[in-house]
């Protein structure tokens, strides 16, 4: 039974989101660049590659442990560029503000944007402001587009993972999703978890400076690690095998997930990346990552094989094996 209306799960970053994109947007706007379905589009101008991306931010509440909607917007946009091997250059900033929003809140968010922008060395070069009637949005929404200059020689993309690659993650997973949920109306719970919200370009720069050929990078946001590896397995037509015992997850995140009945692998991150490169380059990349504060806990969590084609599997801690499935996009709080 197909959906006749949009339901919340269409925005969950899981299989319903993918289906909406594939069967409506991608079909209507089909072109070679869009077809790559990477975090940002890579375009060539005067023989220089540029990455271009856009994202909207509707997180609720707009202040959360470890960040706010403004910092999230900068990180989310910058990270989408960085995943294509692009140094972020310019950002746009579009506000949709609700009548009645305290100016003090807006000022705080703007200050936070300025701070994040300074961390990356990127400029906000254009913007827009709209105000809607009270009740038409919850506080504020942000839309942000970004342009970055591609600094790698090889093409980094979701379709480029190859058998023999290792899978590396830069740190513990699930923190952003759990931090936002912990302060959401109705499920407030005490937790030490704060959002991992961080701009990844400085870390990516260190990685690229090793000269190692990176095949694929993704920031596992909505849908978490699970959605990211499913996507890459499918796009590259390879089998991805992860080791559960190698995947770093903070005990507080695990505890919160147990409590809420969630899979930590499907929880959103905003300062994490997963990376695929040849196994023999793995240690060099890892060493470079470990030198950077955002990669101190980086580790190899799995490898790529030829089979089973287009499927991601998890070797469990007790020695079993199971599929990592694309999350459907459950009725979770708005987390980005």
């Amino acid at each position: 039974m197909k959906y006749e209306r949009i339901v919340m799960a269409h925005g969950g970053g899981g299989s319903l989101t993918h289906e909406l994109i594939k069967e409506l947007f991608a079909r209507e706007f089909d072109n070679p660049v869009l077809r790559t379905s990477d975090d940002s589009a890579v375009l060539a101008m005067n023989r220089q590659g540029y990455a271009f991306t856009t994202d909207s931010y509707v997180v609720k509440p707009y202040f959360f442990p470890g960040g706010d909607i403004g910092r999230l917007a900068v990180c989310g946009t910058v990270n989408d560029l960085a995943m294509q091997g692009a140094q972020p250059q310019w950002l746009s900033l579009g506000f949709i503000l609700e009548e009645g929003l305290p100016l003090a809140d807006l000022e705080k968010i703007v200050a936070s944007i300025r701070q994040a922008v300074a961390e990356v060395g990127v400029q906000i070069v254009t913007g827009d402001t709209k105000v809607v009637e009270r009740g038409r949005c919850e506080g504020l929404y942000i839309n942000m587009a970004g342009i970055g200059r591609v600094v790698t020689k090889n093409w980094i993309g979701g379709a480029n993972a190859r058998p023999g690659d290792v899978v590396i993650v830069n740190g513990p997973l699930g923190e952003h999703g759990v931090a936002v949920m912990s302060c959401r109306e109705g499920i407030e719970f005490q937790t030490s978890v704060v959002s991992d919200c961080a701009p990844l370009w400085p870390l990516v720069k260190e990685i690229l400076e090793t000269g190692v050929e990176i095949h694929t990078m993704r920031d596992p946001t909505r849908g978490g690690l699970a959605a990211a590896v499913c996507d890459i397995a499918r796009a590259s037509g390879v089998g991805i095998r992860l080791n559960e015992s190698a995947i770093p997850i903070d005990p507080a995140v695990r505890g919160a997930c147990d409590l809420l009945g969630l899979d930590p692998l499907a929880i959103a991150n905003e300062g994490k990346l997963i990376l695929f490169c040849r196994a023999l380059d793995g240690e060099r990349v890892l060493a470079a990552m470990n030198r950077h504060p955002l990669g101190r806990e980086a580790r190899i969590i799995g490898e790529v094989q030829e089979k089973p084609k287009s499927l991601a599997l998890l070797r469990t801690t007790i020695g079993g094996e199971r599929i990592i499935d694309m999350p459907t996009g459950e009725d979770l709080p708005r987390i980005c």
């Binding site: 899981g14 109705g186 007790i318």
Partner: protein
Amino acid sequence: MKTLVQAIHELGQRLGRNVNLMEVCGTHTMVAFRTGLRQLLPASVRLLSGPGCPVCVTDANYIDAAIALSHRPDVLVATFGDLLRVPGSESSLDRERAAGASVRVVYSPSDALLLARECPSRHVVFLGVGFETTAPTVAWAVYRASRDRVMNFSVLCAHKTMPGAMDALVRDRQVKIDGFLCPGHVSVITGAAIYRFICESYRIPCVVSGFEAWDILKSISLLLAQLADGRAEVEIEYSRSVTEQGNVAAQRLIEEVFEPCDATWRGIGAIAGSGLAIRETYARHDAVRALGVEFGESRVNPSCRCGDILRGVARPPDCQLFGRGCTPAYPIGPCMVSSEGTCAAYYKYEGRIAA
């Protein structure tokens, strides 16, 4: 862990025949699939998933009634998130919410009661679905609503109790159950003594299990040992939380607010005395009586084999809809939609490895 698996294999060999062990708890189902422990069992030991997911056994006409309520302008339906996408006869709550129905996800019955206090102009109906584990929290909300005279709060009650269902499964005889892995959370409330009749009347061993992979493996080894010795007893593996008599305060609360009733289990049918209904004293907080809810006929896809799957008669791939018409994104049967449903677990974690 290795020694446990080894012990299970040795016991399996000692028994020298096929045995069917059934768990009747959605969390056990999920742990068994998510940790891949099913693959560690010998081929002769089959782990069946019974009707342990409360969402899965909720009749389609209950969803229909909840949908009808959600369209009444004076009503706000409050529910746990896992009911949202469950298909009723025609539609589901999430589709209806997208079409304008008033449906709010809450994380506890107390939150629903709070919602009622905050919106005095609406009647808040909480969808009471679950086993003995959730029944006390719902009973508490009803009790509080009555005590504080929150007249705009009621529960659409479809609570069920486990022993009656286990009894029906054993009597069914279409599938021979050699042992039960009894639900840990339910037993925390009810105590382990409620399973004794299964051992005494049917000579079937029962072990109350915890929720870690090693809990389940340990429980399986205890069941196999009982079978090998020809014993049929209730053993508590989950002894860090479960006692013989259970949580007496919670039982009293259930007793205060609810009384046993006959209940229809989706896919299984009517089981006498296996449901909980709100007592006359609290009739004002029973949505059926307070709002005049009527239950229509359930219409379900005739090809759906959720009922057989819930009884352990069929495995998900035996159903012709599995993975074809029926997937987690587009579920037809309840076992595919609930996060603890057998088909969903099978589809997500195991079903396509061989393919």
